[in-house]
Each structure stands twice: as structure tokens, then as C-alpha cells.
Symmetry: C2
Subunit: 262 residues, 2 copies
């Protein structure tokens, strides 16, 4: 497993090419150490936020409508909070929905994690109150986001534009996900169509989250996927589709990237 050695000059390509070798190690680790990573530290925590079963399409519709003002992260939160304010009340009543708007566009437009994911994560984390459950549910949600043709949400009334395509993002990374859809649809980022797509996608994520939380509150939620780290073969926090983004690219070892600590 080359990543254990002294590999100062090891390129990302080496890491990717060697992932087959690392896989063997990871497979062994997944039985022992990696499962330990998942479960050993799991614990319950207190939170004043309660959940009651909601109608997935209603949550999706409110999310969709909120997107055009609040963008991805806060629109997913709004979908839940508007409903839970009425149904549960208490802590949800003064929930600061917009305090999470910075999550949009992969964090302030940096294009990293799609903002719908932390939006859903905030709700999941607040209501499930168990680190393992929140981990399992956000992991399932990332699989749903990455490997489902989206968006298939149909708004009751289209706000911005007709759109033609659904795409499989292959990742929860914002700029890859939206870029693949833009390429399919043939439109630029600052278009009504792209906004419409992200609004419907946010609705889909809110709906899927609602379904998981509804099952959970009934004691029927069972995770659909292994934690990514248990099945990952890269020895790092990542998906297994390295070449999907990185291809054959060999980044030249750049010594300006690293300095010794004092």
C-alpha cells in the first residue's frame, strides 16, 4: 500500500493507479478498523427539535418555491421548517432559515458540496439525535443524489422555465452536478432553465429526506448503503470514481505546495 511509505513525490495519479492495490488493504481494514471508525464513537445527543411525519410532495413544493429567493441550502431547510412550524411548533417557530444560505452553490459559490446536502443534513442532524443515524441517512442521501436521474420533481406551477433533461450527477459536488445538467440541456449557468433545474433538484432532495425521516420516525428506517468509507478503495475520504473527474491527469509535484513546519 504505497500511501503508507515515504512518498514525498507521489503524484495523485500514482495514488489513483495504486487504488487497486490499496483496495486489498481497504478490504481488510473494512472488516476491522474501518467499521470501528463508523461505530465506536457513535452516540446520542440532545436536541430540542422534534419531527413528525410530513407529506414529501408538500415539503418539495415549498422547497421549490423558496429556491428562487433563498437558493439551495436554505430552500431545503424552508421546506421542512415551514411545515414543522405548523405541525410541531416549539423550537421550529423561530428557526433561522436564512442563517444557512451561505451553503448555496457548493459554499458561497465555490462549487464544492451541493448546497441541498448540508440543507438536508441540518434537518437530519437536528431531529435524529444519534451520530450513527445522521451519518447513515446523509450517506444514503448522497447516494440518492449521485446516482438518480434528477430532477424529476414536477412543480404544481412552473415558476421559471420548462426544462427538458434529467442527469445523473455521479457525485454530490455542485459544479460537476450542475455542469453535467447544463451540458445536457445546452444552457448557461445564469439562465432561468438552470435556476429551474436547481430548484427542482432541491425539491427532490427535500422529498427524499422527508421519506427517510418519515420511515425513521416510524422505526422503519434502514440504511440502504454502506458508509462510503467502508467500501472505498482509495484510503481517503472520497468516492471510488476517481478517474471520472481526474482522468489520466498527472499533477506535477509542486514543492510550493508544501513546507516543513518550524
Amino acid at each position: 500500500m504505497t500511501i503508507n511509505g515515504n512518498n514525498d513525490g507521489l503524484s495523485r495519479r500514482d495514488l489513483i493507479i495504486n487504488s487497486g492495490k490499496a483496495a486489498a488493504g481497504a478490504a481488510i481494514l473494512s472488516i476491522g478498523a474501518l467499521n470501528a471508525v463508523k461505530t465506536a464513537d457513535a452516540y446520542e445527543y440532545a436536541s430540542t427539535f422534534k419531527y413528525e411525519k410530513l407529506d414529501p410532495h408538500e415539503v418539495g413544493q415549498v422547497t421549490y418555491e423558496n429556491y428562487f429567493k433563498r437558493w439551495c441550502t436554505s430552500s431545503v431547510i424552508a421546506g421542512f421548517v415551514e411545515a414543522l412550524k405548523k405541525k410541531v411548533g416549539s423550537s421550529w417557530k423561530d428557526f433561522p432559515i436564512d442563517a444557512y444560505r451561505w451553503g448555496h452553490g457548493g459554499m458561497a459559490g465555490w462549487g464544492a458540496l451541493c448546497g441541498t446536502m448540508p440543507g438536508a443534513g441540518v434537518i437530519i442532524g437536528l431531529v435524529t439525535k444519534n451520530t450513527d443515524t445522521a451519518e447513515e441517512m446523509t450517506n444514503d442521501l448522497a447516494f440518492y443524489y449521485s446516482y438518480t436521474e434528477l430532477p424529476d420533481f414536477e412543480p404544481s406551477k412552473i415558476i421559471k422555465a420548462q426544462i427538458k433533461h434529467m442527469t445523473i450527477a455521479g457525485t454530490p459536488v455542485c459544479h460537476i452536478s450542475v455542469g453535467r445538467w447544463m451540458r445536457a440541456e445546452g444552457v448557461a449557468f445564469l439562465t432561468d432553465q438552470r435556476a429551474e433545474r436547481c430548484a427542482r433538484l432541491a425539491a427532490n432532495i427535500a422529498m427524499e429526506t422527508t421519506k427517510m425521516l418519515n420511515a425513521w420516525v416510524d422505526g422503519k428506517y434502514a440504511p440502504k448503503h454502506q458508509p462510503l468509507y467502508n467500501v472505498a478503495s482509495n484510503g481517503i475520504t472520497s468516492q471510488n470514481n476517481c478517474k471520472d473527474c481526474h482522468g489520466q491527469y498527472v499533477p506535477s509535484p509542486n514543492k510550493t505546495y508544501e513546507t516543513l513546519k518550524k
Copy 2:
């Protein structure tokens, strides 16, 4: 600007190669539409969470210590909450620190956005109460994260391991950031050294956030960077360093990735 046309078969490489052309369009847009994106929708929002000036190193130290139980996202939150519980009280007293733990490892280990960023973002969003301010501050923090040699935090007592290297991540993306550091240090992910690095990095992010919030509460915070989208030349939510990850890679147009909506 090819991304406006009908480009069903347009590859990511085309998008990247054409970014120069797109830049001209983006430069024009940045004066008009893109600035409008930033400011037109900005608004104040209510939140019961108050901030008082904190000692950056103390926040960093608590973050560092919490990392080994709570991982990146919740450890940054703990750094603030533990201090604000004592100094401000009220809403901070029953803050569910662990409700955000799923943000670790780029979201449940998926390697997307470094978990320290949403950790800091949660605090920034809750206390600044203005969508523009939260946007500016999280943007500045992403620049700090991406283009500073880190970690340079020195714990009062080392918990896990001595580490030798600092690296410039070039991005707030988890697996790139930690991968570059692992390559420099020559260690694998499941090592005491890597855990130590992420704990110190979390401390650095918490400290930088403290400094910004301290300036803000004194009315002295001024953003250091343009919103990325205003300076971006890619017509999408991303940094401008496309080739840093994608290189010369040409993804083959994969029709299974896209389907027409009913």
C-alpha cells in the same frame, strides 16, 4: 460563449478549454448581472444567537481537543459554543453541537467540502444575521483555507502525533486538501498524523473565523476578496483552477448520464 449553444456533446474539456472565451462574457456579466446576483437578494434575518469577542487561540484549542471525538464540523462548532455558552449564554446553552457531525470528511466521508467550512459557516450564519455578510465571510474563509499554508496551529499539548508539513490545499475540497497533505507528510489516512493534521486545521479555521467575527462585532470587518462568482471565468459555480483537478482529461460524452424528461 459555447456553453450558451446547443452542445449536447460538449465535453468538460471543451468547457475548460473555452473558459478563456467564457471569461470575456463573464467579465461583462460581472459588472451587471453577476453583481446583481450578489446584492439584489441580500437581506437581514432574525436569529437568537448573539456573539461576543472571543480569544482566537482559546477557540482554536477547544476545537483541536474536540476534533478527536467529534471530527471536523462539530469540533469547530464546539470551539465557539463552549466559549459562547459561558460568555453569552441564552440560546448557546443547549446548542446541539453534534447535530452537525455528519459534515465530517466532506459530508459523511464523501470527500466534498471540508467539514470545517460548514462548521464555521453555521456559526457565521447564526450570528451575522445578514445574507451578504455571511456570504462575504464564508467566501473569505474559503480563500484563507485554500491559499494559506496549513495547519500552523500549535496545540498547548500534542494529543496524537508530531507532524512535519504544512500544505496549501488550493481548494476547500476535503479529499484534495487532505490528499495533498498526506502526500507531503508521507502518511495514510487512518494514521495519528493525519488525525492530528485535521484537528490542527480545524483549529486554524476556527481561529480565522474568530478573528473575522471579532472584527465584525466591532464594526471593522471588511471582506478581503471578491465573491468567487464575480471573478470566476467559467460560467459556473467553481474556482478558476480547473486544470488543477481536471487536467487534460476529456470525459467521453456518456448518454446514460442524461435522459429527456417525460
